[in-house]
């Protein structure tokens, strides 16, 4: 109908003082919905992800960099770390890090955002920040708990500047409570919430935990969710609010069934490996597949939850005699004899190539899926390709790279990870011109002075 597509969060501006994934991932999601997210950074303590591999290797100099803050894009990581207070680079080879703008992971986590440099430790920097607050809807930060107070930028101050401001604080363990100073990263939040203990083979195996920071992503989700709830409330009531978030509590919220099992039945959680703890199912696990070289070490997950699926599996296996044995005659019997069942199913799967097997099992109606690697998802998975899960977005210094798009598809609204900037992550200070001049009305002379004085 030729109607202009609207972004759901059009007109919402977010001052983003977060970092890493648990913090910076939340505003990323809000950018995908159309919020104008302004990521605030300072060179003396940059986001670790700017130094973290992998790096875009192909050097690409972009003409317009000189006009948008070439002084900082030329800033090499080594200089940054020598300057003061930056990350302990002991474990990294600083020589390999060519620039703070080349980190691939940072590029993904900050796609769709604007980026400015601002020294919050300088009084003038904080005055500039207040100007930004006056034209923002949301301030979100993940500093240690007292930082904003210490800077004279607590909720009361922010509210005095912008009465309907939404202020979200996300120290690891929350602001209220005796653990206010404690540190949290994804693995810590996973460990304390119970999620680590719930992952892995039964004792005496130790917990396997998580091979990525699930609670960083979850921290990001709940950051976005909380801000969205508050934005909705503000739309309906006109009021802003203060939100005290932690990285651990969303993890606790995902352990509710185990908490209840203990409250009601006095039972302690026991790990079950890949076996289904509460839905009767067998076989249910990861089974080894055939493969040589790079294809060695492949596994397929099979989850049989009904008689019908079991019969289908038996047919795909070619009705071997053992399936007719009494001990596999019912789901209850199969669960009772899972060790033997797993051994027999493994003996069958390990002669077979994983993706062919997946196709045959699925065609027969058996829930099954290869334990996919990143390479599988990026290069082979036809469904993800069909869904356009990776979005090519341009970055001013490293060029165009695939960025993980958000998984929700809107029929009418314009929603994608490019956000209002329609690009990947900002270079350090890339949008100083736009923010300081256009939004805050600074002159070139004022900008130059702030730059010389180490404020921006």
């Amino acid at each position: 109908m030729g109607v202009k597509k609207r972004r759901p969060l059009e007109g919402v501006r977010i001052a983003d003082l977060t970092w890493l994934l648990a913090g910076a991932g939340g505003p990323r999601l809000l950018a995908s919905l159309g919020a104008e997210v302004i990521r605030i950074e300072w060179r003396d303590r940059l986001d670790f992800l700017r130094y973290m591999p992998p790096f875009a290797s192909k050097r690409k100099r972009v003409q317009h960099l000189s006009s948008i803050g070439g002084h900082v894009s030329a800033f090499r990581t080594k200089e940054v770390s020598e300057k003061a207070g930056a990350m302990d680079l002991t474990g990294l080879d600083a020589g390999k890090i060519q620039s703070v703008n080349r980190g691939g992971y940072f590029n993904d986590i900050n796609a769709g955002k604007y980026g400015i440099s601002l020294n919050m430790k300088a009084p003038q920097g904080r005055e500039l920040f207040k100007k930004l607050v006056a034209v923002s809807d949301v301030v979100v930060e993940a500093f240690t708990a007292e930082t904003m107070q210490k800077w004279g930028l607590g909720y009361d101050t922010l509210k005095a500047i912008k009465p309907d401001i939404i202020y979200m604080q996300q120290p690891g363990w929350g602001y209220k409570g005796p653990y206010v100073k404690y540190a949290s990263y994804g693995p810590i939040a996973q460990a304390v919430s119970g999620l680590t203990e719930q992952s892995g083979l039964p004792a005496p195996h130790p917990p396997a935990g998580w091979g990525f920071s699930y609670m960083d992503w979850s921290g990001a989700y709940y950051c976005a969710m909380t801000i969205l709830m508050a934005l909705y409330s503000k739309k309906r009531t006109g009021k802003g609010q203060y939100l005290d978030c932690s990285q651990v509590e969303p993890g606790i919220g995902m352990t509710g069934t185990a908490v209840l099992d203990h409250a009601v039945n006095g039972r302690h959680y026991q790990r079950t490996g890949n076996r289904s703890p509460y839905t009767p199912a067998a076989p249910h696990g990861a089974y080894p597949c055939a493969g040589q070289g790079a294809e060695k070490g492949r596994w397929i997950a099979i989850a049989v939850t009904s008689e019908e699926e079991w019969q289908a599996l038996v047919r795909v296996m070619g009705n071997p005699d053992w399936t007719a044995q009494e001990r596999f005659a019912s789901l209850a019997e199969r669960i009772k004899h899972q060790d033997e069942l797993d051994r027999l199913v493994s003996a069958w799967t390990q002669e077979r190539e994983p993706f062919g097997l997946q196709e045959r099992l699925q065609a027969a109606g058996v829930p099954a899926g290869v334990c996919q690697t990143a390479q599988d998802r990026i290069e082979r998975d036809p469904q993800l390709k069909h869904l356009n899960w990776l979005l090519p977005l341009e970055h001013a210094e490293i060029g165009t790279w695939p960025i993980k798009d958000i998984p929700f598809h809107f029929a009418t609204g314009q929603v994608s990870q490019g956000g209002p900037t329609d690009r990947a992550a900002p270079c350090y200070a890339e949008d100083n011109e736009y923010v300081y001049k256009e939004l805050l009305g600074l002159s070139q002379t004022e900008m130059d002075a702030f730059q010389d004085e180490g404020v921006i």
């Binding site: 759901p8 159309g34 790096f55 739309k235 469904q383």
Partner: protein, 415 residues
């Protein structure tokens, strides 16, 4: 205090794929009405159960994931059921649908029809793989999603010395594919509700769980994109291109603790000082190790891990981590979920709440708000609905059926 979503009405036609999202919307203050088939939703068969009694009103899974919702029963595929569903849709803000693809379409309720019925409706479709594409009809479970999504290849135990694995990839329990999808569905849904304030019209949102799960890993994807480098799973820590230092250590009481390297300047020295204060720094104070360059590489990493392990082994899991955290050392116990309600931090923040089950004459500890709101309330009850608990309220008081008409529908098995 009002909830955040105090005036939002949600209809839920969902099983385990969408119940978590509905629970979060209810927690945030929305009025979530769960529509179950007569006899109850199949998720009532998922354990564990109250006193191990396998019974549709005794599923603790159902209790947890349907907390704070109201519930009715309705055979939406019967003509009178479809008509009642339409009346409900006309008054709703959000409809969450995880039914097999095409279920509503067959009832004449495709997106166009839904829009005609209620232009302000946000219609949210959660399906395993999406409504089109080569895997559209694949069957999935939590386990299968975590396999295809990449979580399993990141999680598990370290390889043996020759680089091969003698343990399978691990799918962390429990129900995380649906947590991941539910969280992202919440984001999309509330985003659409905010957009509606501007456009005055609703939205259709599709969320393929496979895609939602596939984007929820960390560095494996960038490592492949930027360097074609695979990542390898290892016990209790990030999958990485190479096996890294251990961070998870057994405690004296047979449990485990985790110590992460503090990435800030001085973080290493603080940890060594702390180990020293326990008489457990080994030879780390030797001049040789004061040079950062002598602390690189695998040999030192293993040595350092051994020293930390020896310290942790001397203490019970809950013993010294507070002292370490006070110094800024990221150290924590690896707890069981049920150990958290006793922690003073969560008691201070009211992270858990007591929920009454009047029909049982009991109250139980539930997980509560995922953060601490100050000007809005997170929902504190009621417990999950009994089967058809709100049939009378909804069908008679809201939709205007007489008691006789409701009884008639009940007799026909429609509610």
């Amino acid at each position: 205090m009002d909830g955040f979503l105090f005036d939002v009405k949600v209809l839920e036609l969902a099983d385990e794929k969408g119940e978590f999202c509905g629970k979060l919307l209810a927690g945030a203050g929305a009025d979530v009405l769960k529509i179950e088939p007569p006899g109850g939703q199949a998720t009532r068969e998922i354990g564990p159960f109250y006193h191990d009694q396998v019974h549709p009103e005794r599923s603790l899974f159902f209790w947890h994931y349907n907390f704070g919702k109201r519930g009715i029963t309705l055979d939406i595929e019967s003509p009178p059921g479809t008509a009642l569903l339409k009346q409900l849709i006309a008054e709703a803000d959000v409809l969450i649908d995880t039914q097999p693809l095409g279920t509503l379409e067959k009832l004449g309720l495709d997106w166009n029809a839904l829009q005609a019925l209620n232009p302000r409706l946000t219609y949210v479709v959660l399906s395993p793989f999406g409504s089109s594409g080569p895997w559209r009809d694949y069957k999935a479970t939590d386990l299968v999603h975590l396999a295809l999504g990449g979580q399993m290849m990141c999680c598990g135990y370290s390889p043996t010395d020759d680089g091969s694995y003698d343990t399978p990839p691990i799918a962390p329990q429990m129900w995380h594919a649906y947590h991941i999808a539910g969280n992202q569905t919440f984001i999309a849904t509330v985003g659409a509700l905010i957009g509606r304030e501007m456009t005055e019209v609703g939205e259709m949102i599709e969320l393929p769980i496979h895609q939602a799960v596939s984007v929820c890993t960390e560095i494996d994807v960038p490592h492949w994109i930027y360097g074609q480098t695979p990542c390898y799973r290892q016990t209790g820590r990030h999958a990485q291109p190479a096996v890294g230092p251990e961070v998870q250590f057994p405690t004296k009481d047979g449990r485990y603790a985790i110590i992460l390297p503090n990435p800030f300047p001085g973080g290493y020295e603080t940890l060594v000082g702390f180990l020293e204060s326990k008489g457990k720094a080994g030879d780390l104070n030797a001049e040789h190790y004061k040079e950062p360059k002598n602390r690189r590489g695998r040999v030192f990493a293993e040595h350092f891990a051994d020293i930390q392990a020896a310290c942790v082994a001397d203490f019970d899991m809950e013993d010294i981590w507070h002292e370490a955290q006070e110094l800024g050392i990221p150290w924590s116990p690896i707890r069981l979920p049920e150990e958290n309600p006793d922690d003073i931090q969560w008691q201070t923040r009211a992270t858990f709440s007591q929920v009454e089950h009047p029909e049982l004459g009991e109250s139980y500890t539930y997980t509560g708000a995922p953060m601490l709101p100050n000007q809005c309330a997170w929902r504190q009850g009621p417990r999950a609905p009994l089967i058809g608990e709100h049939n009378r309220t909804v069908f008679c008081e809201q939709l205007g059926l007489s008691a006789e008409e409701l009884a008639d529908l009940q007799n026909k098995g429609i509610v």
